[in-house]
Every structure is written in structure tokens, then in C-alpha cells.
């Protein structure tokens, strides 16, 4: 295992991901699945250079990483076009790698059926270059037929390293349409007819107990699926229209986050001065005041700072009037923090967000 000093297993992960995604993004924009288009984008961005400059012993590890990354773009649930792009990317990286001996492309058993399905879909749609490239890879014996896509050594990663698929690349869910397709509807309506005929032949039409199903359920089903499809399309369009709207909401999110960071920072700096043991009880007093000063210190940012622990406890545990005073005056903290009876009253404890 090659590691840098800090124990990083994947030093170029972010950059590789962004490079591959920008390439695939450009490919997606062309709305084509031709290898010619892909190779043009490859040449324009001089992507072969991605291997250059690696020191001798790094070459194999780097090849391994980049091939594993590209492999993830070849599998569902990404859109067909992105998967074709992933295939082209795999092919190009495999041919252009500088590692010697060359690293192979690892295909896991669980993914092989998907690969075959992809090949069939491409062949049916007459995308000969995609099929040719896939066959070429098999001809070149570029695949390692493995159990899992990567080597596993029981490494439990921190959550921040979870790989998430870029949303533009992911195939839209189309399960309702896949399930209720034309053939199924035809069959259903045939069976429905037969059933109706049998029912009328067996019993009188006035008998209500036999009417268990909707008369026109097949057209209804078809109608619902079409509605769903239309709604999906409309949602897409409105999403695009609301880009400006979404822009401001994401701005708000940014300002929320900024406010949160500001409050954390102000708390941290508020407690930074370590009081000596004898006066440590006074440190707690800093909190409420720093909370109040937090928003005022950052006037340009949103006021959505996190309420203090006391405020949150108050929110959760609803004390009624007298109980509130009694509860707050008998706790250890209130005893410690009250300098003298006069000062204690001056310190205001108020809920940041009134409970609803």
C-alpha cells in the first residue's frame, strides 16, 4: 500500500474526480454517444497528461486509482450517455496509462450482468462504436474478473469520504414506466375482458357482491403513469426555471452556515481565556453573554445562530411559571454563576426562539 506521511490512501481523489467529471460533463453536453466526439474532448483537454509526471513507483498505484474511479462511471444508476462516456473513459485511460506492467480494469461479478445488459442495449440501439470498444477491451484482455471492484482490507473510512454520484449523471427514476409498459397494459386489459365476460356469464349483473374491481382500471392505471411522467418532466422544467430562485435559497443556506460558524467561533474565543481553577466557575458566565454578542458581532450575516444549551433545554422541558424560577435557581450552575443576588437578576436568560 502506498501512503503519504499522513496515512492518506487517496491523495489525488478529489482532483481526479473533478477532472473526470468535467470531462464527462462536457461529453454530456454534446448529447452524443460517439467515440469521435469523446476523443475530441479528450484531445482538447490533453487528458493523457494526467499520467505524466508520476514517479516510477507511483505509476501503478495511480493507474489503479484512476481506473477504479472511471469504473464507477460505467455502472448504473447513471444515465446511458454517462455510462457510454464512462466506457470510453475506461478504454482511453487503459490504453494511455504509463504504468508498466499495465493495470487491468477490475470487473466485479455482481456488475457483470449490468455490463452485458449495457452491451445489449447499445447493440440494439446500433451504437456500434460503444459495442466495438467494449469488445476491444475483452479482446485486449483488459479485464480482471474479480469478486469486488476494489481491494478490501477492512478499512473503516470516516464519513466525509463517502463517494456520492453527481446528480446530473444519475438516471432519473423511471420504475413506474418500466413496470407498467404497453405489453403489460395490453395483457391486463385482455384478462380484464375475459374476467368481465366470465362474470356476466356466471352471475346476474345486478348482484353487487361480485363487483370487486373498477370497471375501467386499465385506462386509469395508464392515465396515472402518464401523469407521473408528465409531472417528472414538468418538475425538471420548473427546476430549471427556478434556478434563480434556487440561487437565493442556496445563498441563504450559505449565510446560515456562515452564521453557524460565526457562533461557534465566538463561543470558542469566548472560552479561550482559561480561568484558573478557583475562578473556573466564572467561565460559564461567558457563554450567555457571548451568545448575545454573537449576532451583533457579525451584522452582515444571518441571525440564525444556534440557541444556547440553556435555551434548548428550556424549549424541550416546558416548565410553568413558578417552577421555572424554582428550577433555574436551584441548579448547581445557577448557584455557581450567580456572583451575588443582584447581579444574578441582571443576567438575562431568554429563549432565542419562542416555542410554538
Amino acid at each position: 500500500m502506498i501512503r503519504s506521511k499522513r496515512g492518506e490512501t487517496d491523495p489525488y481523489r478529489k482532483q481526479l474526480k473533478s477532472d473526470c467529471e468535467s470531462l464527462l460533463g462536457r461529453f454530456q453536453k454534446t448529447e452524443s454517444v460517439r467515440f469521435q466526439v469523446f476523443s475530441e474532448i479528450w484531445r482538447e483537454s490533453n487528458f493523457t497528461h494526467i499520467f505524466y509526471g508520476a514517479v516510477k513507483h507511483e505509476k501503478r498505484a495511480f493507474s489503479r486509482r484512476v481506473l477504479d474511479l472511471a469504473y464507477s462511471y460505467f455502472l448504473p444508476p447513471l444515465t446511458f450517455q454517462i455510462r457510454v462516456g464512462g466506457l470510453y473513459l475506461l478504454y482511453s485511460l487503459y490504453r494511455c496509462q504509463t504504468a508498466s506492467p499495465p493495470e487491468q480494469i477490475r470487473v466485479a461479478l455482481k456488475d457483470w450482468d449490468e455490463v452485458k445488459k449495457f452491451e445489449k442495449d447499445a447493440a440494439d440501439a446500433q451504437h456500434l462504436d460503444a459495442v466495438y470498444i467494449l469488445r476491444q477491451l475483452r479482446f485486449l484482455k483488459a479485464f480482471h474478473f474479480t469478486a469486488m471492484p476494489t481491494l478490501l482490507a477492512y478499512k473503516k473510512k470516516r464519513k466525509t469520504e463517502k463517494s456520492d454520484l453527481s446528480e446530473e449523471f444519475v438516471e432519473r427514476a423511471s420504475r413506474p414506466q418500466e413496470l407498467i409498459n404497453g405489453d403489460l397494459l395490453e395483457e391486463l386489459s385482455n384478462i380484464h375482458e375475459l374476467y368481465e365476460k366470465m362474470k356476466t356469464s356466471v352471475s346476474l349483473p345486478s348482484e353487487k357482491s361480485v363487483n370487486m374491481i373498477h370497471r375501467s382500471f386499465v385506462p386509469q392505471l395508464r392515465g396515472s403513469v402518464l401523469d407521473f411522467h408528465k409531472w417528472q418532466q414538468n418538475k425538471d422544467e420548473t427546476d430549471l426555471d427556478e434556478d434563480c430562485g434556487e440561487g437565493t435559497s442556496s445563498q441563504q443556506e450559505c449565510s446560515n452556515r456562515a452564521g453557524l460558524i460565526a457562533s461557534i467561533k465566538s463561543k470558542a474565543y469566548g472560552e479561550a481565556a482559561e480561568a484558573s481553577k478557583s475562578r473556573r466557575h466564572r467561565q460559564v458566565e461567558v457563554d450567555p453573554t457571548s451568545n448575545e454578542s454573537g449576532p451583533s458581532n457579525a451584522p452582515g450575516r444571518s441571525r440564525k445562530t444556534k440557541p444556547s444549551f440553556k435555551a434548548r433545554t428550556k424549549e424541550k422541558f416546558h416548565f410553568s411559571g413558578d417552577q421555572l424560577k424554582a428550577s433555574s435557581s436551584t441548579t448547581m450552575i445557577s448557584h455557581l454563576t450567580s456572583l451575588d443576588p443582584v447581579a444574578a437578576e441582571n443576567v438575562k436568560y431568554f429563549k432565542r426562539f419562542p416555542s410554538k
Binding site: G53, F139, M148
Partner: protein
């Protein structure tokens, strides 16, 4: 295409993640192999390269492609279309190209500049990590019988340091072995080299020459592997005892699920039901325990080392710094002495030559008063 309930039947021979990117659920290695072989054509995993013309002809026939379209396809998809520079103007691949636009290259340049500025000595672990693999890559045997059969399964197993070592026990595997599916666990055991096997217990100042006869490997031959609830014991020699019995009996008395036993020499890797990426145990010498993780299972490939005789193949060995003799500082220490009037420190490490020249005269008689113990350095297998 329609979800007609086919996905509800889970095939236990197809490996799936138990925890994503950490380890898989248990599966049968032999079953896994048959699953792959049933899905592939023999050409996919054969070692012989296919003829390009046959490939083109087959492709054209299968998809009803004319000769011109075929030629066009070939030229479009050839490696020439990926060439970013004309043939005679290729930039040096060993250097990061100037004015990089790709983020990876920018990052690489940054790292290289930083490293150059710090003047760190080269990291030998990284430099030689692939050395063993490079030596055996693509080796083909002379005799045809010794060639690894096509469609054979290769497992990559990491063996880790025993928990008694302070540094690096979780991080770097001690050694990485490539095993084939037809190897037995006993062969695997023989391939694992642990320094505790060479330890000699006892004081040998009076009889230094017979020390090598007493290595622990010969005395304590028992060992076991633990995979998925089964203890595989080594019962090849009459001295071997079943050391897993203690654990099994303890487990029974404490309401653990019951474990079973099997023989190491009768079990091949192909018969095992294991998880990939999950730690298992190898225990020998009674208390020297190593973690064993199977990191990869795959079919053979034409670029692998195809000589059966070379397997189990060591592809990675971690090197440990060794302690040298306190006299010559050249050879690794083999003896250490206590209560030694000749030695500068207590205890003191000597290599074999220095030890004998210092403590024994030409006839082999012991000089002076001391206690000597054979010492096995951790890096003895470097």
C-alpha cells in the same frame, strides 16, 4: 427489464458488500469461480491472445457491418485518436507538463515542489513496495505442466503483524501472499514466515553450537486458522495438538454459537466460505496470533505469474529496521548476553562472529562468566 421479482432470490455465491467498501458477506470461493466461468467465454480468460483479424471478422458478422464501416470503426476507435500530440513531438512523460489545466496535474506539481523544498530522504517503503511483484510478473514456466490452469482462482491475502508489535500493527500488512484456489491451508501456513517461529528458548552459553536445533517451529508445531466459525487445525505431525479446543469449549460454556473444526491440510481455498476484506485469525506457537485478511479473489489473467511452482507467491513484505551487533555494527544481532563482564551494557547484542571471538577461545571453551541467549531480530526475514 420489468422487475418481475427476480432480484429477491439472492445468490450467495455472488459477493456483495456487507458494509460498503469495508467487507463482503460470506461466499463460497468455488461457487464464485463457477459463477464467473458460467458467464464468460473461454477466450475471455484464456492466456492466448486472439487474432485481430478473427476478432474483426466475428464482429462484422455479428452486427451485420460492412467492410468499410468496419475499417472506419477501427480507425475511429484506435489509440491514434487519443493522441494529444503528433508522434514526433511527444512530451516527456516523466515530467509534469508545463501550464497544466487538469487539477490532478496542478496538485501533483504542488506536491513535487513541496517535496523538493523539504529535502526528505526517499521513503524506502514506497520505493520498493512493488519490487517483489515486478520480479515475478508475467513469468511463464518452462514445463507446460507447471502452468497455472486457466480459470483458476487467485486470492490475495494480507497477513498482519501479531498484536505484540507496537508500531504499524493495523496499518501495514506484514506480508501479502498470492494463493491459488487449489492450495491447501497447510501450504498457506508454511508460506507465512513469522519470526516467533525461529525463537529459541533457553540459555546456551555453555553449548552455543546446538542452539539452532531448538527453534520453536520444531517444538510447537500446532497452529490453526479461524474462518467463519470454523477452526482449521494443523494435524500433519504427531506432535500437533488441537489448540482450538480450549476456545471451543470456553465458547460453549459461555453461550456462544457453536464452532466447528476441520483439518488444515484437507481444506483447500476453493472449499472455503469466507468474506473478502474481513479479518480472520492465524494462531501458532500457542499465543502468536496474526490477523489474516483476504483482500481480493479473482480469476487468473495472462499477465500474472503463471508458474505454479512459484505459488504461494510473496508480493509484498514489510521491512523492519534491524538491530545490529554492538561490536561491528554491521551484522544483525544473533545473541544477547546478560551478566557479561566483557559487555559494555546489560543486556548486550552480538552477531555470531563477534560473540564467539569475544566469549570463547580457539578451542571453543567458554571464557569468563556470562549468560547467553539466542536472539531473533524482528527483521530477520528482510
Amino acid at each position: 427489464m420489468a422487475a418481475s421479482g427476480g432480484s429477491t432470490t439472492s445468490n450467495t455465491n455472488i459477493p456483495e458488500y456487507e458494509y460498503s467498501d469495508v467487507n463482503t458477506k460470506p461466499f463460497h470461493i468455488g461457487g464464485f469461480r463457477s459463477e464467473w466461468l458460467s458467464r464468460l467465454t473461454p477466450e475471455d480468460y484464456s492466456y492466448q491472445p486472439e487474432e485481430e483479424d478473427t476478432f474483426d471478422a466475428n464482429f462484422a458478422k455479428e452486427h451485420g457491418v460492412s467492410a468499410e464501416t468496419m475499417a472506419e470503426l477501427k480507425s475511429v476507435c484506435s489509440i491514434d485518436s487519443l493522441r494529444c500530440h503528433p508522434e514526433d513531438e511527444q512530451p516527456d512523460p516523466e515530467v509534469v507538463p508545463p501550464n497544466p489545466t487538469l487539477q490532478t496535474l496542478i496538485e501533483r506539481k504542488k506536491k513535487q515542489d513541496y517535496k523538493a523544498s523539504r529535502k526528505i530522504t526517499k521513503n524506502r517503503h514506497d520505493l520498493y513496495a512493488n519490487e517483489l511483484e515486478r520480479l515475478t510478473y508475467g513469468m511463464k514456466p518452462e514445463a507446460v505442466d507447471d502452468i497455472l490452469p486457466e480459470g483458476e482462482v487467485i486470492l490475495t491475502v494480507n497477513v498482519y503483524y501479531p498484536a505484540s508489535y507496537d508500531k504499524f500493527n493495523y496499518v501495514r500488512p506484514h506480508m501479502t501472499l498470492l494463493m491459488t484456489g487449489s492450495h491447501s491451508l497447510a501450504e498457506f501456513r508454511d508460506a507465512i514466515c513469522c519470526v516467533s517461529d525461529l525463537q529459541v528458548c533457553g540459555e546456551f552459553s555453555n553449548t552455543p553450537n546446538i542452539a539452532p536445533d531448538f527453534i520453536s517451529k520444531d517444538h510447537y508445531k500446532s497452529a490453526f486458522f479461524y474462518f467463519e466459525g470454523v477452526f482449521y487445525n494443523d494435524m500433519r505431525y504427531p506432535e500437533c495438538q488441537d489448540i482450538s479446543m480450549t476456545t471451543i469449549e470456553w465458547a460453549k460454556s459461555h453461550n456462544f454459537p457453536s464452532y466447528s473444526q476441520a483439518k488444515m491440510e484437507d481444506t483447500r481455498f476453493m472449499d472455503l466460505n469466507v468474506k473478502v476484506g474481513f479479518p480472520y485469525l492465524y494462531c501458532h506457537q500457542g499465543d502468536c496470533e496474526h490477523l489474516v485478511i483476504i483482500t481480493d479473489v479473482r480469476l487468473t489473467h495472462k499477465n500474472d505469474c503463471l508458474d505454479k511452482e512459484l505459488y504461494p507467491l510473496l508480493t509484498h513484505k514489510h521491512r523492519v529496521a534491524t538491530q545490529k551487533c554492538s561490536v561491528c555494527h554491521i551484522f544483525i544481532g544473533r545473541w544477547f548476553t546478560t551478566n557479561d563482564e566483557f559487555a559494555p551494557s546489560h543486556p548486550c547484542l552480538f552477531c555470531d562472529k563477534c560473540f564467539r571471538t569475544l566469549h570463547y577461545n580457539e578451542d571453543g571453551y567458554k571464557l569468563g562468566d556470562f549468560l547467553a541467549y539466542p536472539y531473533v531480530d524482528r527483521g530477520a526475514f528482510n
